[in-house]
């Protein structure tokens, strides 16, 4: 059995679902970042697979963009997370409700 | 300078208001009076430069703003708008001159000057988008005036005023956009498949719309205008706004801002949608009757003299609406004249209420009684304005009311008969209010030593009294230019009408007037 586009897309979907559930369920900010990374990478897989399938490099280029932006996002996010942890001693989402409407 | 007088009329007060921020607060009053006096002189100059014999637009200005979408800065004035502009300049001047609020005078005067810009802008704009911008901008200074200097319920009243009228205008904006889209569709060149965008009102005048489009568009514009007028049942913001606004706010609101709605009916609804105007003539006439009788009765039940005047405004606006939808020269001319007349008289009445409020800090009629012996001059001027409001011949109001009702009589005898009760119900609430305040013995100790009207108040009241009588006896200088412009509007409506009913209801004047080309052939030709 040859591994085709469908397999990659199914993998991507499964990963996306895992990421989505993680985003909804995790109460820890660090784990939330992990879940976000999974979401982004699931999309990256889809990009790369479809790009390969069509023989068009644009998709793979987008995947690189996503990786770069994800890296910078994590860098900034982790910085903020450390500051938050220094101030409050935890990184629990339940305590971060100062933006309540 | 006459070439750009309309732009100067709009932006001079605004620039002066900006400059006002750096004026010392002790001299701001004098500054405000000077600026508004100059503006008034400019408005008079406009009148002298105005050629009464021409029925079309004069002093037109044209500056492209977004030409690709047909949005341009087009100004012009005709007999319909001329006198409302002069009235706006006049009331701003005497409003500032008779200002008695001492709190934050500087802000008040700057706000008033900004308000003046928007008022003049509304009446000279000939581009729907420019019109809309000024229309909405006029809400802001008024919101501030009511909200900052008003009575105890001022926040509620000002927010209600703003949101209510704003909501209506949005519907109107949708109508305007659709109108422009329709113009684009109508002008599509079959060769290139490209049309022309235009928001110029005079361009729109040349469009003949199918009847069902007219009905929907009429309704969209109607919502915006009706709330502004205000027509029953959209009127409830007005008593609050008047009740809470300071004297100057009420004066400007009643004298000028309400006229924007009725003016817009004549500028937009009638010439753009003649068939729809005929179609909706009777429903609107019935609303007008309700306005006249119902609000007059509500006015009779009021305990607060300012509310009596506020509700009386709605009642009079009913007569104006009726005259407008008479769709003949007599009626429309009468309704425009009545706009000016009502501006003068209701403005004066609000000023008069302000006089007594300054002295006693109450507007409840039960607090007064017997004022005629304490303040005879005040009673005399109030009596004059009361009689003008009631529509006594040889006062300014009578001319407008008489012509409006006379005009509608051609369309319907029965409705005019019922609407004519305006002269009865008007007398009932006004005379009752006057009796409560001025007649009888002075029972309240606090009223025994009230000073009569002082010089500052007379500065505002005497010119108004003179105008009230002068234009009642000799309305010709105003009536003539109005008449000429109205004739061209009526003729345009008759020519555009497509249904038989509309053709027969709107008179053909072609025998009397020469063919007047009121549409500009191209926008570029205007400047």
């Amino acid at each position: 059995m040859e591994i085709g586009l469908n397999h990659y897309l199914v993998l991507s979907t499964i990963l996306f679902a895992i990421g989505l559930i993680g985003v909804m369920r995790r109460k820890n900010l660090l784990l939330l970042f992990f879940a976000t990374e999974i979401l982004l990478n699931s999309v990256n897989i889809a990009f790369a697979a479809i790009s390969h399938y069509y023989g068009d490099l644009t998709g793979q280029m987008f995947a690189f963009f996503v990786i770069a932006i994800a890296a910078s996002e994590v860098a900034v996010g982790l910085g903020l997370l450390i500051v938050w942890h220094k101030r409050h001693g935890n990184i629990d989402l339940e305590t971060m409700t100062s933006m309540r409407g | 300078m006459l070439d750009h007088i309309l732009s100067i009329l709009i932006f001079f007060p605004a620039l002066a208001a900006m400059f006002g921020f750096v004026i010392h607060k002790d001299s701001i009053r004098a500054y405000g009076i000077a600026v508004s006096a100059i503006e008034f002189v400019l408005a008079l100059w406009l009148w002298f430069g105005f050629d009464s014999a021409v029925s079309g637009m004069q002093f037109m200005e044209f500056i492209p703003l977004i030409p690709s979408f047909g949005i341009n800065y087009i100004l012009g004035v005709d007999g319909i708008s001329l006198f409302i502009i002069i009235l706006a300049a006049f009331f701003t001047m005497i409003g500032i001159a008779s200002l008695t609020d001492t709190k934050n005078v500087k802000n008040m005067i700057i706000t008033l000057l900004f308000l003046q810009m928007t008022m003049v802008g509304v009446f000279v704009a000939l581009d729907a988008i420019v019109f809309y911008i000024f229309w909405e901008l006029s809400l802001v200074p008024m919101l501030y005036i009511i909200g900052a200097w008003g009575g105890p319920l001022r926040i509620y009243a000002s927010v209600k005023f703003f949101l209510y009228t704003f909501a209506g205008s949005l519907v109107m904006l949708v109508g305007m956009l659709f109108m422009a889209y329709f113009y684009y569709q109508a002008t599509i060149d079959p060769m290139t498949g490209v049309g022309v965008w235009s928001f110029a009102i005079l361009d729109w005048y040349r469009l003949i719309l199918p009847e069902n489009f007219q009905l929907w568009l009429f309704a969209a514009f109607f919502i915006g205008f009706a709330i502004k007028v205000p027509m029953f049942p959209f009127h409830t913001w007005l008593p609050y706004a008047h009740g809470q606004a300071p004297t100057i706010g009420s004066v400007i609101l009643a004298a000028i801002l309400l006229k924007m709605g009725t003016y817009a009916f004549i500028r937009f609804s009638l010439p753009l949608f003649p068939d729809a105007s005929v179609y909706f003539m009777f429903p609107i006439a019935i609303i007008a009757i309700v306005m006249i009788i119902y609000t007059a009765m509500v006015a009779y039940a009021q305990e607060d003299i300012k509310q009596v005047v506020a509700y009386s405004s709605i009642s009079h606006m009913g007569v104006i609406i009726l005259g407008t939808f008479a769709l003949n020269v007599e009626g429309i001319t009468g309704s425009i004249f009545l706009m000016i007349a009502h501006g003068v008289v209701s403005g004066a009445l609000f000023l008069l209420v302000g006089v007594i409020y300054d002295r006693r800090h109450t507007k409840m009629m039960s607090e007064f009684g017997g004022l005629a012996s304490v303040m005879p001059r005040y009673a005399a001027i109030f009596g004059l304005m009361l009689m003008a409001s009631v529509g006594l011949p040889l006062t300014i109001n009578f001319v407008g009311e008489f012509l409006s009702l006379l005009g509608f009589y051609q369309q319907s005898h029965m409705i005019t008969l019922i609407a004519g009760t305006a002269i009865i119900v008007g007398a009932i609430y006004m005379l009752t209010a006057y009796k409560k305040m001025f007649f009888g013995e002075v029972t309240n100790e606090k009223n025994k030593n009230l000073p009569d009207v002082n010089k500052r108040e007379l500065v505002a009241l005497i010119p108004l009294s003179i105008i009230t009588i002068w234009l009642g006896i000799y309305p010709k200088p105003i009536l003539e230019p109005i008449n000429n412009s109205v004739e061209s509007v009526v003729q345009l409506m008759h020519d555009k009408a497509i249904t038989d009913e509309a053709k027969s209801r709107i008179p053909n004047l072609i025998k009397e007037v020469e063919e007047v080309d009121i549409s500009i052939t191209s926008v570029e030709g205007a400047h």
């Binding site: - | 040889l394 008489f402 004519g420």
Partner: protein, 630 residues
Amino acid sequence: MEMFLYIALFAPLVGSLFATLFAASPKTLIAGVVPSLLLFISFIASSILLAYVLQTGGAIHVEMMTWMATGDLYIPFGFVVDQVSVTMMMVVTLVSTVVHVYSIGYMDHDKGFNRFFAWLSAFVFSMMILVMSDNFAGLFIGWEGVGLCSWGLIGFWYHKESATWAANEAFIMNRIADLGMLIGIFLVYWNTGTLQYDQAFAVMPSLDTEILTWMGIFLFIGAMGKSAQFPLHTWLADAMEGPTPVSALIHAATMVTAGVYLVVRANPLYDLIPDVGLFIASLGAFVAMFAASMALVNRDMKRIIAYSTLSQLGYMFVAAGLGAYWVALFHLMAHAFFKALLFLGAGNVMHAMHDELDPFKMGGLSKVMKGTFVMMTLASVALAGLFPLAGFFSKDLILEVGFVQHHYIIYSVLLFTAGLTAFYSFRLVALIFHGEERYKLFGIHPHEAYKFMLVAMSPLLLLAIVAGAMKMTYFEMVTALLPATEYHVHSEITYWIMTIGTQLFVIAAIAFAYKKYAFSKVSVPDGSSDMEKSFIYKLLYNQYYIPHFYENYFVKPYREMSHAFWKEMDILLVDATVDGIAKFIYNTGENTRDMQSGNLSTMLKWMVAGTVALLSLAVVFALAVRYLGV
């Protein structure tokens, strides 16, 4: 001649403005003298115009300036002096000059002396506009102008609740009629294309009778208000709250006759619609008797005279309605003289009695007030219609008109009313001037009025006596303009029987009044006598309960409805709906703000929910488009 026209018209205005200058200052004699002088000048100018019209038989027509012009409508300030208007001008200027001079004495001690003359002269000016205008719009100016001045003068003593109430009642009731007038004017304009009398009347014969009928009806409704015809009559009696000279001038001699003037002026119209004319005549006859019956029992001197005025207006409308316009105008003139005289006499009595109005509390005043006594008696004789005073010539003529035109019911009603008139007039005279001096019980020391007041009244006395002699001159003059029908009873014998019979009937009524009130003992009624307990007496004394009816069935419901409209409809329905919409939007926001909990986890869940919802919508639409082809 035009100069005299303008002098006659504007002299009262100048007088009014002059007095206005002093309005706020305390009594200044000059503020009364100057308007009186100016009115006298106006009277002289009117006399010159009268002489001119008599000599040349022509009319003077001037157009001062444009008033309103728009579309096809053109209304000028135009004035015409012809046979009809000059008659009215003479009556108005003469009576008002007399009343002005009289008022200088009458208002002597009043604080509002200057204000009074400002109003009074303004009234004369309005009245002159009313009678001199050459178009319906000008007539309407005067019409409303006299209404305004009447309001100001009835409510002259504004600190009195009853006076201001009566003033407002008069104004509002007149306004109801004015609406009819306005509609009549609209009808004239849209059907004839003009409001000028001559042009409009020239077109009328070619119009549809139905339209003419409506025109006639609506214009007459206007006339009914000013002339206080049933059912708009209640204001006239209440208007007696004003100072007595006002009652004499406005509510007897001039303003209330404006309605008659309108019908006379519009005679080409009413000639075309005899049915409306007959209605006017019938209403007139009814009002004549109706008002006279109320005067029989009333105990207020001025109200009795007011009802008498109402009754005489009814006579005039009978004549005008039956097409005898010149007779109506003649009675109008004669009535103005003797009725004004009667009112001014009553004013003297009021002064003497310190504003006491109940004639039962007077009696025997002839000893102290000889001049007034003679004048009031003669005025009453004229009113009763005894030969050879003015009333005989004018009133009997109306009876003859009814008889000659075979309207026997109207004739008998009017004949009966003539008896009532004689009775109540002399009941009043007897109660005031004869019998015991009942006023002594109340500690009043009556005195005669100033000499010059009596002198001022004397022209009216003279005219009340000799006006009848002018009948033929007058007839020749006005018939240049009005239909010149002479009303002669065909058989000589019938004529003499009618005339002498009427005279005897009237004399009998007078004798009865004297017997009952002058030669028998009269006491101040206290509600105990049998007569006062009778139903008829109560009915008449309460004016047929009509004011009561109006109060309960018009005024009160209007007040309650207004209140309900405000409190229940405007606030609870209309405004509450608007606020309801605002509240709904506000509450939606209030309720959904919980979503914005600030908890990142919850918000992410909402985000996912939103994404899912949007995605599924997109899928549903895509499927719908593909399979249903929507």
